[in-house]
Each structure stands twice: as C-alpha cells, then as structure tokens.
Amino acid sequence: MTAQVAKPQAFVRELLGRSDYAIIGEIVEPRTKVLDLGCGDGDLLQWLAENKGVDARGVEKSSSKVQRAIARGVSVYQGDIDEGLADYPGGAFDYVILSQTLQETHHPRTVLREMLRVGRRAIVAFPNFGHWRMRFSLLLGGRAPITARFPHNWYDSPNIHILTVQDFEELVQLDGIRVERRYFLAGGRKVSVRPNLLAETAVYLVSGASR
C-alpha cells in the first residue's frame, strides 16, 4: 500500500452536493479542455465551464440525461464509454474525468488506458469496495453488501467491476500509470490513514507512463 496523505483529517467542501466534485473542481486548471465520461446531466461540466472557463464535453449513455445536459448548453453526446473513446485523436483533452463510473464499465483497464491516450491526465473517482462497512456487511450478513455508496441489489447493480483502493493502486502500478495526486473521502471528510479501510470514495489524478 503506497497511498499516503499528509494532511490531517478535514472537512471537504461540497460542490453540487458532492465532495468528489469539490476535489475535481479544485484539480482542473482554468481554460483547459475537459471530457467527462458518464457525465450524467452535465452538472459538473456546466460548473467547470462557468467557473473555470473550460471547454467542456461529455459522454453519457442515458438519453434523458443527455437531453438535460444539452438543454443546459453542455456539449454531450449519447454513447457508451467502453467504445466512445476510440474515435478521439490522441491528446485531445487536458483532462478526462471518470467519476463514479469505472466500476460500471465492461473493460475498466482499457478505459483507463484510453483515457490516458486521449487526455494528458485522467481524474478517476470511484467508490471503495474495501471500506470497513462493506467488509462488515459481507462478513456478518453473508450477502452482497448494500450501503449508501453501493445501494443496489446484486441482481440489478450497474457495478460490474467493483474495486478497492488497494486494487486501483495495484492496477496503476501494473500499467505504469503515474499517480500525481490521490484523495480519500468518507462522510465529507478527508481520510488520511488506512484509506483502503476507511475511505468511501477515492479520487485519483493520474497521467501516462513517464517511461
């Protein structure tokens, strides 16, 4: 486990009701080009466009969410994350964001690789399946855990590739992906120790292999 966060525990500001958005909002530099994968109704993109002057684009599977995004003026296209990135030329974006969606993709490893092809950097936020509540639920209940972060029954869950902080750390190491920054969150607080056990959400800023 290489994850280390020096800062003491502190409340994290919320952006649009979400603390991972607040972190992403901090990370993204002004006037950059951003692609948000699984952007929902484009609320984060709209915020980034209005407050950071970014050139904001998005991909979303749900037709009704795409409609709401376009109606609020954000350039979103209806499509699948697993396939959608292939069309873009390399280095088309400064940031490619994947927020709470990595565990829903069919080929997360390919998606990550593609994100770092079309973007100079990637921001990945995902729910940590290693959180102690999940572990307890499974250990004591003996059933696929249902929590605030994983609210679905196993049979209708969109989460097909659940992962832990530890899992993600191992994958980036395996694929030679450089972690520039990592943030761990639980209940609106930053987590500084044992993130694999204590973090509900992880946010990573990563870039392509430096070799």
Binding site: D55, R57, S63, V66, Q67, A69, I70, A71, R72, G73, V74, S75, V76, Y77, Q78, G79, G84, D87, Y88, P89, A92
Partner: protein, 368 residues
C-alpha cells in the same frame, strides 16, 4: 405573426456541373429582427418538399409555416432573440429558380433543360442570399432531412460563416435504400404519359405519377408503429370490404389524399431534380474519409436523430458524430425517442425544442 415571401434576383451563379444559371432567383422569408452586429441570424433549411414559408401565417395562403411549432416568439428558434431566415431551395417550385421557371433562352419553362443541381449548389445560392443581407456569420444553420444535409454542407463549404450547425434526422450520403425510394418516386413520375419528357407545363400535369411518388414518400416518413396507431386496419366509411379496388382501408384513403393534395403544390420536375441532388450528395466525395471532409469545419454541432426513423436511421447520425469526434470538433448528439418515424422532426418537437433552445442560448453567449 403574418409573414410574406420576398424574392431576390442574382445575375448569375456557377453550378457544380460546370454550367451557369442566369439569372437566378431565390424566395425567402424572415422572422424576428437582425441585430446591429448582425450576429443573431439563423438560417433554416427546408426538407425535400418544403419551402421558404417556415413560420408564421402566410399573408397569401393563410397557412402556418412548415416548422411553425419550432420558430416564433419563445419557441426553439426564438424570434424574440434571433433573426430567422428560410429560403426555397434552388431547383424548387415555390419561388426560387427551378425547372418550372422560364428559361430566358427560349421564353418557355426550362423543364428538363434545367441543369442538374446539387446540394452544394443549393447552399451556394443560400450563401449569396446571406451575403446580400450583409451577414458574415450565421449563428446557426439548421434543418431536418435534406435540410440537415444542407446544414452539413454549409459547415464544410463555408466554415468561417457558420458558428453552429444543427443537422437533424439526416445523413452525409444516401444509402442504397434511400436512393431506391427516390428512384421509385422518379420512375412513377416518368412512367406517367402526361409527364411527356418533362414538357407538361400549360397542359395536363403528370398528376397520377406525382401522386404515387408522394404516396411512397409518405410511407417512408412514418413508422410501423405510427401507421398502426393512426390507421390500423380500420375501414374507410364502410363496415365490410367492398370487394373492389376503390378505397377500403383508412390508410389507402390517407395516401390517396396526400398524393392528390401534393399535385396542387409541387412540380413533378422539381421532384426529379431535387431527389437527384439528394442522391448525389456525398460529403466524403474527394476527401477520402468523412473525418477528412470535416477537417475544415469550425462549427459547434448539435446532431439529433429519432429512434423510429428508418428512412434516416440513427446510425447515419452517429457516423456524423464519430467523424466530428475524430476531428475533435465540439459535438452534442442525442437519439430522441419517438414513434413518429422520419416525420418526428416536424411533429414531435417538445424535446427537440428544449435541446435546440439550450444549445442556441449557450452558442449565442459564447459567440458574443
């Protein structure tokens, strides 16, 4: 909103086939006010059988425009904010120069002596009109079906004159199926003895051929679902089959009505020329790939398709979107759910309105 059509005449225009057309007239309507900077102009592009009367109530006919549900105060193309223009296409029969216009060389209608025209030619004439207005950049070009093809042509041919493009239910090139339906329509017209090699002006019109062509067209504009909903197997004004070949079914009555009504407002030769222009349209032509064709494009795009449109299926819109992504162009796309088939862009406009209103507002804001 009572509106009137106007006509501008130009001395001459070059055509893609190498010929020149002189003179050439273009009929247009406008709605709303052009602002001082001329930065709020939107060009609406009509589909195959449309005309310049896109919105408002016609001063002459008392009829609403073909996209009156989309254009007007507070509507998707909000005439309180934008200056909206629509022109009849080159080759048309509703005020712009076409095969029914008088050929100055003979003093008679051109008929089949009219040069074969392209979507590119239609757009070139629209550009002349826009220049005549002194508009350097259009805030948006938009239309469905053939109107969408023109919007794409605009974005590629005049990239510096278009801030945004909204092609709806269209394609970058006709498939074999689309060409096939057009050819059935053309053959129906040309098989009518009254067509007379195109020389029917002042005589009996090829009404039967044109009506059959239109009937085929209307089938392709609807969907299986919408036809079932609208007609089912209901009989027309009778309880039992007539055991004859006059109208039994409601759908037969509808198609016959649509066919005969069309004859009164559309020129059969325009049908031939305009469908040919659609079939020839191919954005890839001379570029190698669609992505290469979009190399020059600078516009922001909103592409819309409809789930039940089998004449211009969503995959054709998605091809546009993929090529634009490959060029890293700014593109938004959605497939709207509708049962209305290809007609959806004309009749099922609630969701389309929200999309276009939001897209235009943000485009206008960025462009100022």
């Amino acid at each position: 909103m009572i509106v009137e059509s106007n006509v501008v005449r130009f001395d001459c225009m070059p055509l893609d086939n190498g010929a020149k057309l002189a003179p050439v007239e273009v009929a247009y309507e406008t709605y709303g006010e052009l602002n001082a900077r001329k930065s709020n102009a939107i060009l609406i592009l009509h589909a195959f059988s449309g005309d310049a009367h896109a919105a408002g109530i016609s001063h002459e006919t008392g009829k609403p425009g073909w996209w009156d549900n989309m254009i007007g105060p507070g509507k998707a193309f909000d005439t309180n904010r934008y200056f909206v223009l629509c022109a009849n296409v080159l080759g048309g029969c509703r005020g712009s120069t076409g095969p029914s216009s008088v050929n100055p060389a003979t003093g008679c209608p051109y008929a089949m002596a009219f040069p074969v025209i392209t979507i590119g030619d239609m757009v070139r004439l629209q550009k002349m009109l826009i220049d005549w207005f002194g508009i350097e950049r259009l805030l948006a070009v938009s239309g469905g079906s053939m109107g969408g093809m023109q919007a794409l042509e605009w974005a590629v041919s005049y990239p510096d004159s278009v801030v945004s493009a909204i092609p709806i239910a269209c394609t970058t090139r006709h498939s074999a199926q689309q060409i096939a339906f057009n050819e059935v329509g053309r053959q129906a017209i040309m098989a009518d003895p009254d067509w007379n090699e195109g020389n029917y002006y002042g005589r009996q019109l090829p009404a039967r051929g044109l009506a059959v062509a239109r009937m085929v067209g209307h089938i392709t504009y609807m969907s299986d679902d919408s036809m079932r909903e609208k007609f089912g197997r209901r009989l027309r004004g009778k309880e039992n089959f007539g055991y004859a070949f006059d109208v039994d079914f409601e759908v037969e009555s509808y198609l016959r009505y649509r066919g005969s009504e069309f004859v009164n407002r559309f020129d059969a030769n325009s049908y031939l020329y305009i469908t040919k222009a659609m079939d020839y349209f191919d954005l890839v032509n001379g570029h190698g790939s669609l992505a290469a064709a979009f190399e020059a494009a600078r516009a922001r795009f909103l592409v819309i398709s409809f789930s039940s449109d089998w004449l211009y299926p969503s995959y054709q819109s998605q091809e546009i979107v993929r090529a634009l992504r490959a060029r890293n162009c700014d593109v938004a796309y959605v497939e709207l759910q509708s049962n209305y088939g290809h007609d959806a862009f004309l009749v099922d406009v609630a969701e389309q309105t929200d999309l276009i209103r939001g897209f235009l507002a943000s485009t206008y804001e960025k462009a100022q």
